[in-house]
Every structure is written in C-alpha cells, then in structure tokens.
C-alpha cells in the first residue's frame, strides 16, 4: 500500500474555461492605427478598410507594393495578408533605419498578428532599449502581455495612462485597452470612466472611433442593454468590420454564453469572410455544440488564410484524431413517449470505450437524475461527454493549445475531460471530475449561462463533496493556509479569484472557497436555497441580489456569517496550520522509518486537528499501514473505512480495505469499496475479475457480467479465465447461447482448462435435455 497521492487542486480543478482567444483584440488582422503609421498613402488605404467596397482597399494597398519605401511596402503586404513579404520588407527597412523605433514597433505588431507574441515582445523591448520613453512601445508591450494574462501588462499600461506627455493616439489606444480589460473583470464603473475619457480625445484629435463605439456596444451588452443601434452605427460606418461582432462575441464567450457568442462569430464571418480569427472562434463554438463537420470547414478556411495560427493547426489535427473515437448513445433508442432524462452521448477512444462506457453511463445517469431533482431543471437535449485518452488532445479541444492544467471543461450541454488513462491514478479521480462537470451542465443550462463562475464552480465542488463518488469535504493544505491568512474573497467579488487571480493558486483557493460557501448555504439555509439562487441568476440577478433574495442577507452579512461558520467548523486547521502540516509530515516520515508507534501518534494528532483529511499525504494512510504492521487489524480496517467514507480514493488502500472486508465476510461492503475503485483506476483487469467473482457470490450476475466484459475488453493475459468467467455469468442469467460462445472462446485458448471443460459439458447436457 503506497501513501495516497492525490492532487487536490486538480481533483477540484475541473473548470469552466475562460477562452483567452481574442482576449485583448483579435490577432491575425491588422488593426486600427492611431498615429504610429505616418505615411499618407498607407493612411489613405487604411481609411478604405472595412468599407462597403472591399476591393477599393485591396487595390489601394496593391498600388503601394511598388513604392520605393520598403516600410510602406511592408504595411501594404501585411494588409493584403502576405505576411512573409511584409516581414522581409520590415527587415529591409530596419536595416536601413535601425534606430527607427516606430518602425520596429510596427514590425513587432506584425509578429503579434502572426501569433508570435514572444518575438513581438522582444521587438517592443528592443524599441524601448533605443527609446525608453516611447509610449507606443510601452503600449504594444502591454497589449501582448495582457493577451496572455501577465500581470506585467498592467504596469506597462499604467505607465502610458499616467503619462501626460504621451501622444494623444497612444493615450486613446491605452484607454480602449484599459476599458476592455475592465469590462472583462466586470469593473463596470471603471469602464464607464475610461470610455468617457476616450470619447473627447477621439473627437479632439479626429481619431477613428470604430473601436471605441464597438466597446460601447460591448459595455451595453455586458450591462444587459440593447446593442442594436450601437452595432448598426459601427457597421454603417464600416460595413465589413467583423470585429464589431467578434468583440461582442468575446464578451459573451468569457461569460460562457457560448450560443450567443457563436451566433455573433457567424455574423462576423458573414460580413468579413477573411476574418480568420472569427472563423477559428466560430469553429471553436461549433465544436462546443458537437457540430464537428461544420467546425472543420471553418478551421480549414481559417488555415488557408492564416496558417500561422497554432489553434487552427492543433484543432485540425485533433479533428483527425476524433476519427479514432466511438460515439455511444444511452439510452439507445431514446425512452419512448418522451424521455424523462436526456440522452447521454459518450465520445471516447475506441481503445477505451468498452472499459469506460459502462461506468460513464452509470455515473452520468445517476448524477443527472440527482441534479434534475435537486435543481428542478430538465436539460432540454442530449448531453455529450467527450473523454480524451491524450491530455494534450483534451487541451486542444478546450483551448486550442496544449499545456492546459485542467481536467474537464463544460461548454453547456457538451463537456470534455481527461480519460483516466491520460493521468496517473494518484493525480486524478475521473468519476469526481465527471460528477463535477455534469453539475456545470445544470448550472449553466438552467441559467442560460448567466450563472457567475464562482457559483457554478461552488455548486460543482459542493456536489463532489456531498453526493459524488468521493464524498467528504476535501480541501488541500495550501487552501486552508490561504483561508487562515484571511485571503477569502467577499462573495460579491469571488469571480475575480477565478478570472484575474492575484497570487499563485488563487484559482484553486477560489474553487475551495466557493465549494465551502455552497456547503455553508446548504447546511445553514437548506440545499434548496442553492436552487433558489440559481433561479435568481437565471433572472439576471447579480450575486448580492441573489443572496438577498434567497437568503435574506446582504452580501456583507453573508460574508460575516460564512467567516464565523468557517471558524466554527474548521477552526482546528485554520488556527493550527503549522502543527497540522508538521504532524502529517511526521506520520509519513515515521512510516518510512517503520517507527509504527510514532506514525500512529503523529497521524492521530493530525486527524485531531483536521478530522476529514484525504488529500495528498492524508494521515489515514500511514495510520492504517502502521496499525496493520502492529497487527491491529480491526483498527486498521476502521481507519481505512474512515478514509474511504471521507472521500479517500487511493486505489491500493481501497483494494486493501475491500479484501479485508471480504475476509471478514462483509461482502457487500467489499463490493462497494471495489466498485468505487472503478471511478479512479478502471484499467486493472484483475480488479474487474475479482469484483465480478464477488458479485457472482452475491447472486448479482448482471453486475458481474459488466465487470467480466470490462476485464475482457482489457485484453487480459489470462484470456481463457476471462472468457470462462463471462460464460459463468451468462449461464447464471440463463443466456446459454452466449455462454456457449464464451466458453468455446475460453477453451479455444486453453483446451485443457478443466473448469471451462466442465461448464461446456454442463451446457451440452442442458442443451440435450
């Protein structure tokens, strides 16, 4: 038995994803210039862009390709989508004018446009080395940093905003960027102030106002106002300005209102077919709706126009991979007379489908039945569950790029998650992740995606703890430490912990806080109040209003009561983080040294401080191991049982508990424990065979059949026994024809296999009689 090693942040970290694509502005499109480009010819062509006659701009830029100034040719080639020539000509221009800072900044923007932010940033830094007070370069650096959510971007932006001497165009552009970032975090008052500053500046300096007006439309959208007239005004001025819709789509996207976002991206593509980023976003949206062929068409078109976008290439490769997936539908066919529960569509790699599908189906059906009852909401259509055996495929499916740290993502009625084969069993409880994600399906769909991030995550974590396959409040040490240090956010601002975290692990801490808040609400006010809050959000309420309506409390009073609850319930660990951590570590160390008595004393000390502790380094495991070593079997079994009941899921520890239960004749409990292992480590053929045998002993042949089929699907070394076991279950179910086939397969492999021979003789006898 190895010590439990779970990664709590990952276990609880299944998340809704804020797509970073286009977070600051759509890449792959040469944006507005507010004074950095000074050549009159380029300015004349730029003025024609996004007009009713798109050919006019194209012809204008083409004419510039033959001018002598290579920087002008570079701008023209860039606008025409010839990035390679643009790059060559910028290089040529800089060779002639190495100290031309604006030119270097423009070259950097070309790199940013071709998805090479690191290279772009280097050029902006080079520009700043030559001219430290160049505000264009500072702003450009802020843009690329902010697009990847780096904190340093804010400092760069502030430098520009605070500079009286910055050119008006830079200040204007900086105000727009700041307004956009504020809009993303929901700082609506700041947005209004920033846009109010930008408007007179544009008027005084006669700067283009298309982006400003688009942001005003986005602000209206976020505030729930009608955007029609504002968007129409933008499009009246520039009829093929796809960003009008892309920007609005982005603000739906980050609030997970994917249906509305996708519709807007479609409009963007309609008015500007060469907006490649819009096609990528549209394709991503279509994938969320499981419309793969339509999505592929968009990505293929995007690839032709912008082959540099890694999201496009990654997603096309992923779509190729999906041909290796099975699509399984449960129930199939749908329940006659109108299904009381929605169909479940499972997409899983063919190699794993026979192993995972039975458990996915069982768990998903159970979760959805519970959620429908608890939240009084019926999901209006099939729920698609995609399971990726390669984590990077999952990451690409989710964010278009590899390297994502999440385990699962829900888009609405579709969710994607890692397969248990893509992660170490020590890191990942796939059953809890599925349980968590399915809760998002309900919170998102029931509110039309209006639920705030914190509440959706809070309910998902609460459901993991209260009804999922690993029940018990499970909070990692660093989260207790953060809460003990007073880092809990006010409920009204908890979303910020997810969207713009300010310290390492704040996102994970926010998950835990959200889960604890929902647990507090359920315990103090009743779990039905969570449903009431959900319905308040569906009506468009903000958190303060939802809390007031559901609980009769102001947000501040709620925060006070929650803090009291935390200290009442978890005061031991909150007051004693250090001794708790020391006791846990001492227990593990003593175990390694085989100092059993010390291991027991230390583990018990840790459990006195925090009784429910099944996270990485849980004291239950060394405690049980030491008790076993000292021959205190009954104590050890009780310890493992407590570990399991509190949500512990180390497969080896649970396998030991199951075998001890079995040896004690507690067979039903042994089966229950063994079944729970399937939700963390389902790829052990011996485990399924064993469980099937125990189920047969309990006359549960149908359940045994499932286990035996899974064992066989794992292509066991001892295939003869696997077929034979299957035959026995089929005989018990009086399915003799299938049993005959199974026993023939066993004896085909091992003709002398005595028990199978006897079963064959029995079947032959039964057939004769």
């Amino acid at each position: 038995m190895n010590p439990l090693r779970s990664q709590p942040l990952l276990r609880a970290g299944a998340a809704l994803l804020v797509m970073v694509l286009g977070a600051v502005g759509p890449a792959g499109a040469r944006g507005f210039d507010y004074g950095l480009v000074t050549h009159p010819g380029v300015q004349r062509c730029d003025a024609l862009r996004w007009g009713a006659d798109r050919n006019a701009a194209t012809n204008c830029y083409r004419a510039l390709l033959s001018v002598a100034d290579s920087s002008v040719r570079a701008e023209a080639a860039w606008a025409l989508g010839d990035f390679k020539s643009a790059n060559d000509w910028f290089r040529e221009a800089l060779r002639a004018q190495p100290d031309n800072v604006p030119l270097r900044v423009r070259w950097g923007y070309l790199y940013a446009d071709t998805h090479q932010d690191d290279e772009a940033y280097k050029l902006f830094q080079e520009a700043l080395q030559r001219e430290p007070q160049n505000f264009w370069a500072h702003l450009a650096a802020a843009e690329v940093l902010a697009s990847s959510y780096k904190k340093e971007g804010q400092a760069e932006l502030e430098r520009v905003l605070q500079a009286e001497s910055a050119p008006a165009g830079v200040r204007f552009k900086a105000l727009l960027l700041a307004a956009r970032l504020a809009l993303e975090t929901g700082a609506n008052d700041d947005v209004a102030k920033l846009l109010e500053q930008a408007a007179p500046l544009a008027k005084a300096q006669q700067l283009p106002t298309t982006e400003l007006n688009t942001l005003l439309a986005a602000q209206a959208q976020v505030q729930g106002r009608d955007t029609t007239s504002l968007v129409n005004a933008v499009l009246h001025e520039r009829p093929s300005y796809g960003d009008a819709y892309v920007t609005l789509g982005h603000f739906y996207d980050i609030r997970r209102r994917y249906t509305e976002a996708t519709a807007l991206y479609r409009k963007a593509v309609e008015i500007q077919p060469d907006h490649w980023e819009a096609r990528v976003l549209l394709g991503t949206g279509l994938l969320r709706e499981s419309r793969q062929s339509e999505a592929r068409a968009q990505f293929e078109a995007a690839y032709k126009g912008d082959p540099y976008n890694p999201v496009t290439a990654n997603t096309l490769r992923l779509l190729d991979q999906l041909s290796q997936f099975d699509t399984l539908v449960f129930p199939d066919p749908p329940v006659a007379g109108g299904a009381s529960e929605p169909q479940i569509v499972v997409r899983v790699n063919k190699k794993e489908s026979a192993v995972l599908a039975p458990y996915v189906q069982r768990l998903a059906s159970e979760a959805m039945t519970q959620y429908a009852r608890r939240y009084q909401y019926a999901v209006p259509g099939p729920v698609t569950i995609e399971i990726y055996n390669n984590h990077e495929d999952f990451a690409v499916r989710t964010a278009g790029m590899p390297g994502l740290g999440l385990l699962g993502v829900t888009f609405g009625r579709a969710l994607a998650m890692d397969s248990p084969s893509s992660r170490s069993v020590d890191d990942f409880h796939w059953g809890s992740t599925l349980w968590h994600e399915l809760a998002h399906v309900y919170t998102l769909e029931a509110t039309g995606h209006l639920v705030p991030r914190w509440f959706s995550e809070g309910i998902s974590v609460y459901e993991e703890w209260s009804s999922g396959p690993t029940q018990g409040i499970s909070v990692p040490g660093y989260a207790w430490a953060a809460l003990a240090a007073g880092k809990a956010l006010p409920i009204a601002n908890l979303d910020r912990g997810f969207i713009r975290p300010e310290y390492e692990q704040q996102v994970q801490v926010s998950y835990m806080q959200a889960g604890l808040i929902c647990t507090f609400i359920a315990r103090k006010f009743g779990s039905d109040k969570l449903g009431v809050m959900l319905r308040e959000y569906a009506r468009g309420a903000d958190t303060a209003s939802a809390v007031d309506a559901a609980l009769g409390l102001s947000a501040a009073d709620f925060d006070r009561q929650f803090s009291e609850y935390l200290h009442q319930q978890f005061g031991g660990v909150l007051r004693g983080i250090k001794p708790w951590e020391e006791a846990r570590a001492a227990a593990m160390k003593a175990l390694q040294m085989k100092d059993w008595n010390k291991a027991i004393a230390s583990a018990q000390r840790a459990l006195e401080i925090q009784a429910v502790d099944v996270e990485d380094g849980s004291p239950y495991v060394p405690l049980a191991q030491a008790q076993f070593a000292l021959g205190r079997k009954a104590d050890a079994v009780a310890t493992l049982a407590a570990f399991w009941k509190n949500g512990g899921h180390d497969p080896q520890a649970l396998a030991r508990l199951a075998s001890e239960y079995y040896a004690l004749g507690r067979k039903a409990e042994a089966i229950e424990v063994m079944q729970s292992i399937n939700y963390v480590a389902p790829f052990d053929e011996a485990q399924h065979g064993q469980l099937g045998d125990w189920l047969m002993e309990q006359n549960r042949a149908q359940d045994a059949l499932t286990e035996y089929r899974v064992a066989l699907a794992l292509q066991p070394a001892d295939a003869a026994t696997a077929h034979y076991r299957l035959a026995r279950a089929l005989v018990a179910l009086e399915r003799n024809k299938e049993a005959r086939s199974a026993v023939l397969r066993a004896l085909e492999i091992a003709p002398s296999f005595r028990p199978a021979q006897q079963l064959l003789l029995q079947l032959a006898g039964a057939n004769k009689s």
Binding site: S421, S422, R423, S424, V425, D426, A681, F683, D684, A686, P716, A717, D718, A719, A720, T721, R728, R740, S741, L744, L747, E748, I749, A750, P751, S752, F753, R754, P755, A756, Q757, Q758, L759, L760, L761, Q762, A764, G765
Partner: protein
C-alpha cells in the same frame, strides 16, 4: 528447437517428464547481484526465493545452485559454471537466472556483484563451454539488453529486462517475472504449468501496466530472444484446479495426457484453429465444440469426476 525441449513441452512440466527421462537433468543456477539499497536487497531476495521454489517444481533440488548476494562473486560464479561444463552432457539443460543490477559503458556489459563484476563477454565464454545444448538465460536488471546479441545461440533462449544497454534505470521486470512463476493467471493455456513465454508475457504486461498507471515514460522494455519459449516449462503450479489432470496423479496423469486418443483430439483442435479464418464462424464453432466436448469428456473420465461435476 531440440527434441528435449519438445519432450518437456509435451509432458507439460519437466518434473513429470523427469520420471520418464531420468537420464537428462535440468540444472538451475541463480546468481544474486549487489543490491546497493536495502529496498533492492529485499526485492532481489524475494525474487531469488521465488525462482528457487519454482525450480524445485521442475527439477531435483540437488540440481538447483543459488549464489546469494554475498556469495555470487566473480570467482564463485565462474567456478560453478566451469564445474557444470565438466558435468553437463548434451541432453542436459541449463536455466541461469541473473538477478541484480547491470551496467553498460557502450562497449561492455557488466553484472554488478561483490568484487570485480563479470562481463558479458565472459558470460558468453562460460556459457559456450557448457555442453548442455538447451539453455535459458534470464537477466532481470538494468542494461541487460546489451546481452541479447552477445548471447544469441541455437537452442538458447535469452530474456533481458531491457531492450539494450542504454536502458540504465533500475528495472521492475525481475519482480514481475518471479511473480509469474507461481501465479495461476500467468498460466494462459491452463495446463497447470508456466512456460517461459507465459512468464515473460505476464511480466511484460505487468511492467507496461505499471508505467501506464503512472503515465510515465517506460524506462525498460523487456526482450525475449530465441525460439519455442512456449514449449519450455519453468514452473509447475501447485494449484491442481487448473490442471488438465486434476484427480489423476503421477504416471497416471502422464499416461492420460500422453495417450494417443487425447493427443489426436488436441492436434485436431490445433489444426482447426489454424483454419479459423477460412471457415464460417458457425461452422468453426460447431466443429470446435465437438472436439472440445470429446476432450472434456475424456479428461473428466480420467479425473474420475464425470461430466456431472459442477464447475467452480
């Protein structure tokens, strides 16, 4: 493939064969290398013990020579092999297990033992001087794959824990190979004994499952070189419920397994299996069932249990 290995296969286990072919002996040599750490010392000792117990099921205890971790030095090992070179005859067989760490410097493999290590070339030379034609060499440690080409010889099966000398990390293979020798699930054909191939397959799958479980890049890839590993039995299982001849013992069991009638049925099943792809599934199953029923009836009669015996 030699006649002797085939005979062993036909008999199902060397122990049973020995009673009818007493003139040939199976010599088992086990050398336990330096562990380096206490954890490895425990593992190696467990593996040596498992190999020793398995060997005792297929050969006479006096033919099992074990040099443990303190005693398997270069001199003792070479002396032992030289003694065997003087005593073994062509019909004898040798099973050599090297349990421990190895190293490979790009040119030479070394098995890590107290004092000077012995090299792959030395091992090649010592084995070459043995008259026993049929040899099984199992090397469970790091870098052992470097021996595959070096030790290749007719009628010699070479199992290494790694595919080359460059896989230098400590291996898991030895533990799983040793476990196979007494695990009924390794007995894939359910004949009551573990063949070299079965033990190898069992261990290889276990190792693979370990690395997959942890989603780690596998640092060892075992290799089996040589032919007819399925026909060479290296352990006899004590659990009789899996045996063909449960209920029958000793000569009676051999006589039954070796009876012309039974052999004809088994050969017919084998021939039918080879034609599987050419037959409609229902025809194949019908023919297979008929043959299997004959065999089952025959075995049940021999076991004295009859067809009415309830399956487990």
């Amino acid at each position: 493939m030699t006649r002797r290995w085939s005979l062993a296969a036909m008999c199902g286990a060397w122990l049973l064969c020995m009673s009818g072919a007493a003139q040939a002996s199976l010599q088992v040599v086990v050398c336990e290398g330096l562990s380096g750490e206490s954890a490895y010392a425990e593992q190696f000792a467990t593996q040596v013990d498992a190999v020793k117990r398995a060997a005792s099921t297929v050969t006479d205890p006096q033919h099992i020579k074990v040099l443990d971790g303190r005693n398997c030095n270069r001199d003792a090992f070479s002396v032992l092999l030289k003694q065997l070179a003087g005593s073994l005859v062509a019909d004898d067989r040798l099973a050599l297990y090297l349990i421990g760490h190895g190293s490979f410097d790009g040119e030479e493999y070394r098995f890590n033992i107290p004092g000077p290590d012995f090299t792959g070339h030395e091992l090649q030379s010592w084995l070459g001087s043995l008259h026993a034609r049929d040899q099984l060499i199992v090397v469970t440690g790091s870098s052992s794959g470097a021996l595959q080409e070096l030790l290749k010889a007719p009628s010699r099966i070479v199992i290494t824990a790694t595919r080359n000398g460059a896989e230098r990390n400590a291996t898991r293979f030895g533990g799983d190979f040793a476990a196979a020798l007494s695990d009924a699930t390794a007995d894939s054909d359910k004949n009551g004994s573990i063949s070299v191939q079965e033990a190898f397959d069992f261990a290889q799958r276990r190792v693979q499952a370990f690395y997959e479980r942890d989603v780690r890049i596998a640092s060892e890839h075992a290799l089996l070189g040589g032919a007819q590993a399925s026909s060479v039995t290296i352990a006899r299982l004590s659990n009789a419920t899996h045996s063909t001849v449960a209920g029958a013992e000793g000569d009676a069991a051999v006589a039954h397994v070796d009876s012309p009638v039974r052999r004809r049925i088994v050969e017919a099943i084998e021939a039918l299996r080879l034609r599987k792809a050419d037959l409609p599934e229902s025809d194949y199953d019908a023919q297979l069932e008929a043959l299997l029923l004959q065999l089952a009836t025959l075995d049940a009669t021999a076991a004295g249990a009859g067809s009415a015996e309830a399956p487990r």
